[in-house]
Symmetry: C2
Subunit: 349 residues, 2 copies
């Protein structure tokens, strides 16, 4: 079968690999209907050292179950499924607490310990299928218009939702979203769904911020740094934002969050931090009683809750996909997203 591998910065190739097969009685084999490229895939695309062995890519996919192991009870061959970006058992203390990204038996796609490969491929072996996969009442052909939105439930919508939930967004909240990528835009949508009254979107790509406005942003701030901070503070009555959803992951975005947050506020991060140390002392978080929260979204915990509005079309998170490509063209998808020609590219094997 075909699968996508990265061999170093800027070097993505679609190659022939051995077909995915069941290995454990708890596995399912899923034929991929749609996968996609994630903003976080661009981090290694910028910085990965050359590696002749390559790395299997992709952690977002939806598909159809082809085969299941003897111990799999909740999905059957023929089921249409959503695969979250984390593998999880569904029964450990963390899964039961809704924190499947910390599952004691789980892991991720392209995970050495689990022996998983990536989702930018024709098929994927899914470990711990009962805990990981969610079967949805969808038909691959007749529901094709829903596929893009369903695909966002494997990562970016659940991640935006996680940001908003962890941030404590509720009726009347004053929220600032940092980042106009897919996660930032879906953080806007999530904040709107949770009742936010004011949603300031910080981003400077007009096509994206326009979509953010359609998703519910009340204002857009294109400036960054001190100027951007001043503008957000002015828009929020001089007080700053009650809640900041940080959907970038670079240090300047953290500093931006600290700059626009209100005393007593919550900074909720879902952009994967490309830094380890950051200021947290009296002059930043401690003095004004700022809360810092967030992390990798346990999207598995949110799928059932978010699904109905996707299925009935109330929300269309799939609008973050502005391009679809075949599997052979996955390298071009990376290049287009890296060049910001594309917001997010779906891959149809």
């Amino acid at each position: 079968m075909k699968a996508t591998y990265m061999y170093g910065a800027g070097d993505v190739r679609v190659i022939d690999v051995a077909d995915a097969t069941l290995q454990q009685p708890t596995d399912a084999l899923v034929r991929v209907v749609r996968s996609c490229v994630c903003g976080s895939d661009l981090h290694p695309y910028h910085s990965m050292p050359a590696d002749p062995g390559g790395t299997s890519m992709g952690h977002e996919f939806i598909g159809v179950v082809e085969e299941v192991g003897d111990q799999v009870a909740t999905v059957r061959p023929g089921d249409f499924v959503i695969a979250p970006f984390a593998v999880s058992c569904g029964i450990c203390v963390f899964c039961r607490a809704g924190l499947q990204t910390s599952c004691v038996r789980g892991g991720f796609w392209n995970d050495t310990a689990l022996g998983t490969a990536g989702g930018q491929a024709e098929a994927v072996r899914v470990p711990l299928a009962d805990g990981t996969l969610v079967a949805v009442p969808v038909d691959e052909q007749s529901d094709e218009a829903l596929l893009a939105s369903l695909l966002t439930l494997s990562d970016v919508y659940g991640t935006g939702w996680h940001a908003a939930v962890r941030g404590g967004v509720r009726d009347g909240s004053v929220v600032t979203v940092i980042g106009d990528g897919a996660v930032g835009l879906l953080a806007v949508l999530s904040a709107r769904q949770l009742g936010a009254e004011q949603i300031v979107l910080m981003g400077r790509h007009e096509a994206r911020t326009d979509l953010g406005i359609e998703f519910g942003a009340t204002e857009v701030v294109a400036e960054r740094g001190a100027e951007g901070i001043a503008e957000v503070r002015e828009l929020t009555g001089g007080l700053g934002s009650e809640i900041v959803l940080e959907a970038v992951g670079h240090r300047p975005a953290y500093d931006q969050a600290v700059g626009v947050i209100r005393p007593g506020g919550v900074i909720s991060r879902v952009g994967v931090p490309q830094y380890e140390d950051a200021p947290v002392g009296f002059g930043t978080l401690f003095g004004p009683n700022i809360t810092l929260t967030g992390g990798p979204a346990p999207v598995r915990a949110y799928i059932e809750q978010l699904l109905p509005a996707v299925l009935d079309g109330t929300v269309q998170p799939g609008r973050v996909f502005d391009r679809t490509t075949g599997l052979d063209d996955t390298p071009q998808a990376y290049a287009a997203m890296d060049a910001r020609d594309a917001l997010k590219v779906a891959v149809r094997p």
Copy 2:
């Protein structure tokens, strides 16, 4: 009148100063009945550069109102009052939200902008008296046994309570408290009051940890570093603590908190950080979805709630005071706390 000044590291003196007087129509003049030395006073006691002008000291006191300005409505001469460690107006957006430490008009004791002096003195001018002071139905003479516990409401009890509230302690919580100073011990008491099931106290001064056990700690861990972390993890079923209340403020205490926290858990800091940068990235806070919260406690917000159990003797937070001295002996109080001969010293002017 007499007041306590610090002139540099280790150099505390009680000197004669001009009597405190009303300056604004919103001021009250309070005769100090009890003040005390705080663990945070020891930070400048270790590091303050020599300053011939000196710094007025003390931010915790209870006393009797002697005189009020024309615009003061809620306290009258003769009232027994508790003075929180922060001055606050009571009516701004932050005061109304219960975050009086971020009051837009307020500040602290010994605050240049407010022109306040410290509480380790015979009397104190209290700005914004209506927002700041809380009158309590107590008689200086006949209720003398309550004075120590009432004094904790000006800082250390409210600070321990803030740690527990911000940490989200509730029925059944698994909590670790880092630090066996007055705030750590009162964080133990607060966690117990809020229903915590397990409270591990990390501290190595047996007289203090013994009091911690009386306040509700279920286990004491004297070890620090990797060994202490391993012990707490073992005591918490290998999972780590759901909530960590950090009552020290030094970087090793932060690292200890990160080491013992459970995925999805909350680290609530009330020890004033003696550092600005700390790790918050994927390997520490982000990956396991840890929340970092806390800050200077808005003790004003908690006094009415905590007062009844103090007045009826249900709790005795004043047990953290193990010594009382006269105002002239305040320098010895600093020395005794610094040498850890005393846990916390009350000062009776």
